[in-house]
C-alpha cells in the first residue's frame, strides 16, 4: 500500500496531512540515564487507584532490583485536568519520571 500511496502522492501532487507514523514525531525524548543506581524517580499517577497500584509496585521493583533511590509518589488531583505546575516542577528535579493511568 505504501508504494501505491507514494506513487499516488507524487502523481496527484498530494499534500500529506500527517507525519507517516508516530515514529516521525519530533517531540524531544528525555535524556537516557547512564545508571539507575541511586537515581531519584518521580512516579505520577492520574488519581485513579489502579494507576497508583501499578506505580507503587514499579517503584518498589526499581528500588529493589536496580538500586534506585526510594521512590517519590505524586497523584494528580483530578484525572480530567493536567497535573499542577507544582507537581511537574517537583518531579522535574528528579533524575527520571514515570507516569501511569489506570481505571
Amino acid at each position: 500500500l505504501d508504494t501505491t500511496l507514494d506513487k499516488l502522492i507524487k502523481d496527484w501532487d498530494l499534500v500529506m496531512p500527517a507525519p507517516r507514523g508516530l515514529a516521525s514525531v519530533t517531540r524531544p525524548v528525555a535524556r537516557r540515564l547512564s545508571s539507575l543506581t541511586n537515581a531519584r524517580g518521580a512516579f505520577l499517577d492520574n488519581s485513579k487507584d489502579n494507576a497508583a497500584t501499578l506505580l507503587q509496585e514499579l517503584g518498589k521493583l526499581l528500588h529493589a532490583e536496580f538500586g534506585t533511590a526510594e521512590p517519590t509518589f505524586f497523584s494528580k488531583p483530578l484525572h480530567t485536568r493536567i497535573a499542577p505546575e507544582s507537581q511537574i516542577g517537583e518531579a522535574a528535579r528528579m533524575e527520571f519520571a514515570v507516569i501511569a493511568i489506570g481505571d
Partner: protein
C-alpha cells in the same frame, strides 16, 4: 523543482486514489477529498500565515500542527477556504491546557470535541444554528467539525483502539459542530460570557457527551421549564458530580422565549439550576470513579460527606453551567450536553483572517 503532475481522469484512477487514501490511515473511515496541493494552497492563501507556521502542538503525540497540515486535513474533510479560520481557531482552543487534549483523546470516556461557532461571520460561512443543527445538511457544520477530528487523528495521533482508548467512542468524533442562534436568544452569546467582544467571531470547544433531549411543550413559566431541565440534568452517572468542570445547556427558541418573556437573566437561570441539580451523598457514594472513597471526589469544601443527606452540586459554580440558544422553530425542546469534566475554551478566529 515542480513535480510533473498527471491528472488521471478515469473512474478507475479515481477509485485507486480514493481507496489508497482510505487505506492510508489518514481518514475517519469515510472517504475523503484528496488533499491535492492546488486545493491546499488555495486554502492556505486565504488565511493570515504561511503553510509552515505552527498553530499548536497537538497531543497526544505532541506533533506541531502547521497551517499547511491543518489545511490538508480541512480539504480532506470537505472544507471550503472560508472555513479554515474556524478550524485553526478550534485547533488553538483544544491545545489550551485547560482542555486537557491528551487526556480527552486517550480517555475511556464517551465524549467528542464539540465546536460551537458564534459571531457575525457565521452566516456568510453557512453555519447552521436553526433546525437540525446537530444533524446533516450544512457543509460548514459537517466539514469544520470533521476537519478538527481529522487533525486530532492524523496530526495528534489519537488512533482509535491504539491511543484513543474510549470504551464506546462517540459519534461526535466524526463531526460535532453547531452555531449559536443569536437572534433567538434573549441574552448575550456564549463568547461574551467567555470574555470576547460581541462583534468577534469565535469558536468554543468542549469535550462533550451527546446532546440529551429535554422536551416540554406545555411550560407556562420558567420554573416549570427549569424544573424539568434540572431533573433531566441530574443523572448520578454523570462524571461532573465527581470532578466538576463545565456543562452546557442549549435552549431551543421556544424555551428561550419562555425565559425571555419572564425577564430571566443568565445568572438567574444558572443559579436556579445550580440549586435544583443537586444529588445527595447517599446516592453519589456508589458512583463515579472512587465509589465509597468519598474523599477522592472533587467536591466543594462545604459538602459534609459524613451526612448522607448533604446535597452535592452538579458543577461547582452556577457559572459553570454554560447557556446558549440554538435550534429551529417548533415544539419546545432544549438539549443538555454534559462532558468529560473539563472546561469550555473559546478562541477568536480574527487572527487567522487575511
Amino acid at each position: 523543482m515542480t513535480p510533473t503532475v498527471t491528472t488521471p481522469s478515469s473512474p478507475a484512477a479515481w477509485r485507486e486514489l480514493l481507496e489508497a487514501l482510505a487505506g492510508s490511515g489518514w481518514t475517519d473511515g469515510l472517504p475523503v477529498v484528496p488533499p491535492i496541493r492546488e486545493f491546499v494552497d488555495e486554502m492556505v492563501s486565504g488565511v493570515a500565515g504561511t503553510a509552515d507556521q505552527v498553530v499548536a502542538d497537538l497531543d497526544p503525540s505532541g506533533t506541531p500542527a502547521t497551517i499547511g497540515a491543518v489545511a490538508a486535513n480541512a480539504v480532506m474533510a470537505g472544507c471550503l477556504p472560508q472555513h479554515l479560520p474556524y478550524v485553526l481557531a478550534a485547533i488553538e482552543a483544544v491545545a489550551d491546557s485547560r482542555f486537557n487534549l491528551r487526556g480527552h483523546m486517550c480517555s475511556t470516556h464517551t465524549s467528542g470535541p464539540l465546536v460551537i461557532v458564534g459571531g457575525p461571520g457565521r452566516d456568510a460561512c453557512g453555519f447552521n444554528y436553526e433546525g437540525n443543527c446537530f444533524g446533516p445538511g450544512s457543509r460548514a457544520n459537517a466539514a469544520v467539525g470533521r476537519a478538527l477530528n481529522l487533525c486530532l487523528l492524523n496530526i495528534g495521533g489519537a488512533l482509535p483502539k491504539v491511543v484513543d482508548r474510549a470504551i464506546f467512542g462517540h459519534p461526535g468524533k466524526y463531526t460535532y459542530c453547531i452555531a449559536e442562534h443569536e437572534a433567538a436568544s434573549p441574552w448575550a452569546p456564549l463568547r461574551v460570557d467567555m470574555g470576547f467582544a460581541h462583534d468577534d467571531d469565535t469558536v468554543t470547544v468542549y469535550a462533550a457527551e451527546a446532546p440529551h433531549s429535554i422536551i416540554g411543550l406545555c411550560f407556562e413559566n420558567p420554573h416549570e421549564l427549569l424544573d424539568i431541565a434540572a431533573d433531566s440534568m441530574s443523572q448520578s452517572g454523570l462524571t461532573h458530580y465527581y470532578v466538576g468542570g463545565d456543562v452546557i445547556l442549549l435552549f431551543g427558541p421556544a424555551h428561550a422565549d419562555i425565559l425571555a418573556d419572564a425577564g430571566w437573566t443568565k445568572p438567574d437561570v444558572q443559579a436556579y439550576l445550580h440549586q435544583r441539580t443537586r444529588k445527595p451523598v447517599s446516592v453519589l457514594k456508589y458512583g463515579g470513579i472512587w465509589g465509597r472513597q468519598l474523599e477522592h471526589n472533587r467536591w466543594p469544601r462545604w459538602i459534609d460527606t459524613a451526612d448522607e443527606d448533604s446535597l452535592v452540586p452538579l458543577v461547582h459554580k452556577p457559572s459553570d453551567i454554560k447557556l446558549s440558544v440554538t435550534g429551529g422553530p417548533g415544539a419546545g425542546s432544549s438539549v443538555f450536553i454534559p462532558g468529560w469534566g473539563t472546561r469550555c475554551i473559546t478562541t477568536s478566529i480574527r487572527k487567522w483572517l487575511s
